[in-house]
Amino acid sequence: MERSFLIRQPSVLIFIGLLALFTIGATILSEGFGLGLISTSFIKTLGKTLCLCLIALAMDLVWGYCGILSLGHFAFFGLGGYMIGMWLMYARTEQIVINSLANAPLPPTSGEIRDAIGSQIFGVVGGSEIPTIWTFAHSFPIQLTLVVLVPGLLALVFGWLAFRSRVTGVYLSILTQAMTLALALYLFQNDSGLRGNNGLSGLQNIPGASNVSQDTISIWFLWASALALGLGYLFAAWLVSGKFGSVIRAIRDDETRVRYLGYSVEAYKLVVFVITAVIAAIAGALYYPQAGIINPAEIAPIASIYLAVWVAIGGRGRLYGAIIGAAFVSLISSWFTSGQVPDVPLGFYTVKWVDWWLVLLGFGFVLVTLYAPKGLGGLFDRLVRRQDA
């Protein structure tokens, strides 16, 4: 009998353990449940970082293992956010509307409630009709299903079209970039039904939990994000450890040879593409309630390129690499851009990190690509190997 993939990959258990420790530690130090040493906003940052790690994991699967450099996975991330955001916004507005209509002389009809919700949500884009795509926005289970279904379907159609015509390499990268740009431009329109460039807002308020403070909600989401990341990691590790994993790695290394061996390369690629899109969507659905707002700028091509950058810095082709990269770069980015880093006076010029951080990141990234092609995860590997020897 084959040994379990968990035993063959000790790093999985180590990671899960560390993640659990981190989550418990953060909870103990938090304002909501523990000592109050960590502010709620920082708990949210940590929770969001976990979601970014999850999408980085998806990116690592599709790029690091299957060799498809997708520059459009943030489209799925954003779509997931939009789908859950629709419910959050609709349900919350419904509560507000019902409360405000309670004092009216006549009890409100369902039509009146709908009209009031419509003008509340869409007044900002000059409409009051509730668009058709919001048909299921009142229902949490349906909208939750759509979080998975809509991005999954988009990935399926797009991937099928792209892989079928054997678009590969940089061509495919540009095509995925075009896809996310098209989606962002579409959502920027006011008549897209998703409030144009205003996006969806107020997502941090959970309907039905108006009495619960943000301190507590942030912890819930931290746990949910950690759980999702843990499960995602287990799933990814299981996926890449078996025969499936061998085939997709083979596709990355020599697509033509795999095809000659009789494997349906397109089907494998499509499966990986859709699975990672769904993981990205779940990450997005957990991310945006913590961020509180989603707008089409989040889907702009640059976001997806940054995602590739995280994975490359962390070290692609190894799952923990993606996690390290996403956590390291996004946390250090928010540290540098927060203005907490002291400026460096050079006498004739003061280096303000808020201004110079991107320059540093850009060149640092070039250096990593040139001199550490395996990323930070590669350095980690080297350390482990030295211990072994």
Partner: protein, 649 residues
């Protein structure tokens, strides 16, 4: 009654006596001095008529001065004078008849006449008849412009009187045209109007449409039967041309049917009738559906405390009893028929011109995309690497142009300097990038993509740190301002023509370099088979460096061109980068003709989609990208694909 009659007769006689005298201007003004002093729109007309009757040669001067508040009154004797300089002390008085100095007066003894804007307008339209026969050609043209801007019924006769004597052909043509426009608007004679309208068939100028469209304005009306007097454009039936609700509302507006009870009125009536938590026997709390509310209202109506609902049958009966039609506001059917035909012929021509204009727009957009993408296509073709920092080379070029303009104040000269300078700077940046980064990442195209992305964000942020976040202007020289205008519809700005020419130049230049020079031969050899080329004595390293520099240099020049009609910001390049990629991918890699085809296709397509949905450029771009994604399905290697071994795999 009798007294009024006498008074009228007396007035009439006085008026006659004024005109009979044909007195000098001062006399006429004195006779009406009260009205002159406090003129209004109504009182000014008889005075102006009297002045015209006098046939004095100085009327136009008088009116002009009066209009521009240069007519003053001497308080001591009530005489009127021109005052040229009201700041002088004492003020010099000028005779209104002879324009000669007629003494001086102290400011306290003088009163300035201040005609209000209504009066000034009346004067201006009277003045027009003098200006139209003025010796000075410019005066006559100005008069025509004034009429065009604010036409009036009285101008028609004046114009007709002056056309025959007009010596200059161009002005005469313009007068005739204006006369026709005025005829359409103001003439009472139907045949004259129809003739004038027919004459404008196919004339695409906006002023013609501005005159014709009001003639074709319609109004939806209703009646038991269509009256004979109406000039009907179209009969409407409910559901066809007019909705049920709109038709009924029209009946209500014309008091032909009772008002329906709206939801709002119903709910208000319900609220007004709440008694002890009940409405007509229904619990208030139970009225949370439409059906229940209707029931409650009907209960109230049956007690006659509120007006009853209008039933559907009653509404339908009212609709059936009336006809609905679209009637022209213009009564004369001959005129509306002629106008309709003329407008149709005009619209056909306008459509054709719009297509031509669209073609020009598409051409100019295509040239911009071509300039932005051609550098990318060369490097991609030769080296197989995607340069994400390409957009930043465009930006570098634009900023070079901006800096050149700061140093050299003359815009023409600075542009001449900026173009080669932008090439040199971007060439240098490109070569540096190739030497330092890309050379080390050969055969790892995806990593090149990411490394150049790192360069891209670093360069963008550097530009922000150096030049600030606000947009910097790159001003075009005066001779590039303005536009080439064929008519009201077809026009293109000179900058766009210049960019088109620039794109053509570079297209020709690159074709020459690649097909006719040693460098081009070597580049093509390296593109097709680098190992073989290297064994034939070509240094691929050097060729790679030079091509990368060349591609980057052209991007720099494109940056100057793009900066000229937009503004220079650090995001300038990234706005074009995705379009450039798509141009290259659609056109086919490593081929100048392919890039040309790709740029034409993307530029043309974007303009065509915008044409169908002009209010929404975002949708146009979305649809275009989706189209490209589908297009790639059918031609994965682009429009012009490399064939044979050159295609690589």
């Amino acid at each position: 009654m009798f007294r009024i009659l006498i008074a009228t007769v007396m007035l009439f006689i006085t008026a006659l006596s004024v005109s009979a005298q044909s007195a000098d201007l001062q006399t006429i003004l004195q006779e009406n001095s009260k009205a002159v002093e406090r003129s209004s729109r109504t009182t000014i007309s008889p005075i102006l008529d009297a002045l015209l009757e006098s046939e004095s040669t100085n009327i136009s001067t008088l009116l002009e001065n009066w209009q521009s508040k240069k007519l003053w009154m001497r308080k001591s004797d009530g005489l009127f004078f021109f005052v040229e300089n009201s700041d002088a002390d004492p003020i010099e008085l000028i005779d209104i008849e002879s324009n000669e100095v007629a003494g001086t007066a102290d400011k306290s003894d003088l009163k300035e006449l201040r005609p209000n804007s209504g009066v000034r307008a009346v004067m201006a339209s009277t003045l027009v008849r003098f200006q139209l026969i003025d010796e000075d050609q410019i005066q006559r043209t100005n008069a025509l412009t004034a009429i065009e801007r604010d036409p009036d019924e009285s101008h028609l006769d004046v114009l007709r009187g002056t056309i025959a004597d007009e010596p200059v052909t161009a002005i005469k043509t313009r007068m005739e045209r204006l006369e026709r426009l005025l005829t359409i608007r103001f003439d009472k004679d139907s045949t004259a109007r129809v003739d004038a309208i027919t004459h404008f068939a196919g004339d695409t100028n906006i002023d013609v449409r501005a005159v014709l469209n009001p003639i074709l304005a319609t109004q939806i009306k209703t009646a038991k039967e269509i009256p004979e007097t109406e000039n009907v454009a179209q009969r409407l039936s409910v559901g066809n041309g007019i909705t049920h609700d709109a038709a009924y509302q029209l009946l209500v507006d014309n008091n032909l049917a009772p008002q329906r009870i709206t939801t709002k009125a119903r709910d208000a009536a319900l609220v007004a009738n709440i008694a002890d938590g009940k409405i007509g026997g229904f619990d208030v709390a139970s009225l949370n559906t439409e059906a229940r509310r209707i029931e409650a209202y009907q209960a109230l109506a049956s007690k006659e405390s509120v007006p009853p609902f209008i039933t559907e049958e009653a509404a339908q009966a009212a609709l059936d009893a009336h006809v609905f039609y679209d009637a022209y506001i213009e009564q004369d059917s001959a005129v509306t028929d002629a106008a309709r035909n003329t407008v149709r012929s005009i619209n056909t021509r306008v459509g054709a011109f719009q297509v031509a204009d669209l073609g020009l727009d598409a051409l100019s957009l295509a040239s911009i995309y071509f300039l932005a993408a051609i550098g990318l296509a060369i490097t991609f073709g030769v080296m197989g690497v995607i340069n994400m920092a390409h957009g930043e080379f465009i930006m570098i070029g634009a900023y070079t142009g901006y800096v050149a303009q700061q140093l050299i104040p003359d815009y023409t000269l600075s542009l001449i300097v900026a173009l080669p300078l932008a090439f040199v700077v971007a060439f240098g940046a490109g070569v540096a990038l190739e030497r330092l980064v890309i050379r080390h990442l050969m055969h790892r195209p995806l990593e090149t993509l990411l490394a150049t992305f790192g360069i891209s964000i670093a360069l963008q942020q550097l530009a922000k740190n150096i030049f600030g976040t606000q947009a910097r202007p790159l001003t075009s020289p005066a001779w590039l301002d303005g536009a080439w205008v064929y008519n009201d519809i077809v026009s293109i700005s000179y900058i766009r023509i210049a960019i088109f020419v620039l794109a053509l130049l570079f297209f020709a230049l690159l074709l020459f370099i690649l097909n006719r020079t040693r460098l081009g031969l070597e580049v093509r050899a390296v593109t097709q088979n680098p190992r073989m080329a290297s064994s034939m004595g070509i240094n691929p390293d050097k060729i790679n460096m030079l091509t990368f520099g060349l591609g980057s240099g052209i991007a720099g020049i494109a940056g100057v061109a793009i900066g000229l009609f937009g503004q220079v910001t650090s995001e300038l390049g990234s706005n074009y980068i995705v379009q450039s990629f798509m141009t290259v991918v659609v056109g086919g890699v490593g081929n100048i003709w392919g890039t040309l085809a790709g740029a034409s296709m993307i530029g043309g397509l974007q303009k065509i989609i915008e044409f169908f949905n002009p209010s929404n450029t975002l949708a146009a771009q979305t649809f275009m990208i989706i189209f490209i994604i589908i297009f790639i399905q059918f031609r994965p290697k682009g429009i012009i694909a490399l064939k044979g071994r050159a295609a690589g795999d």
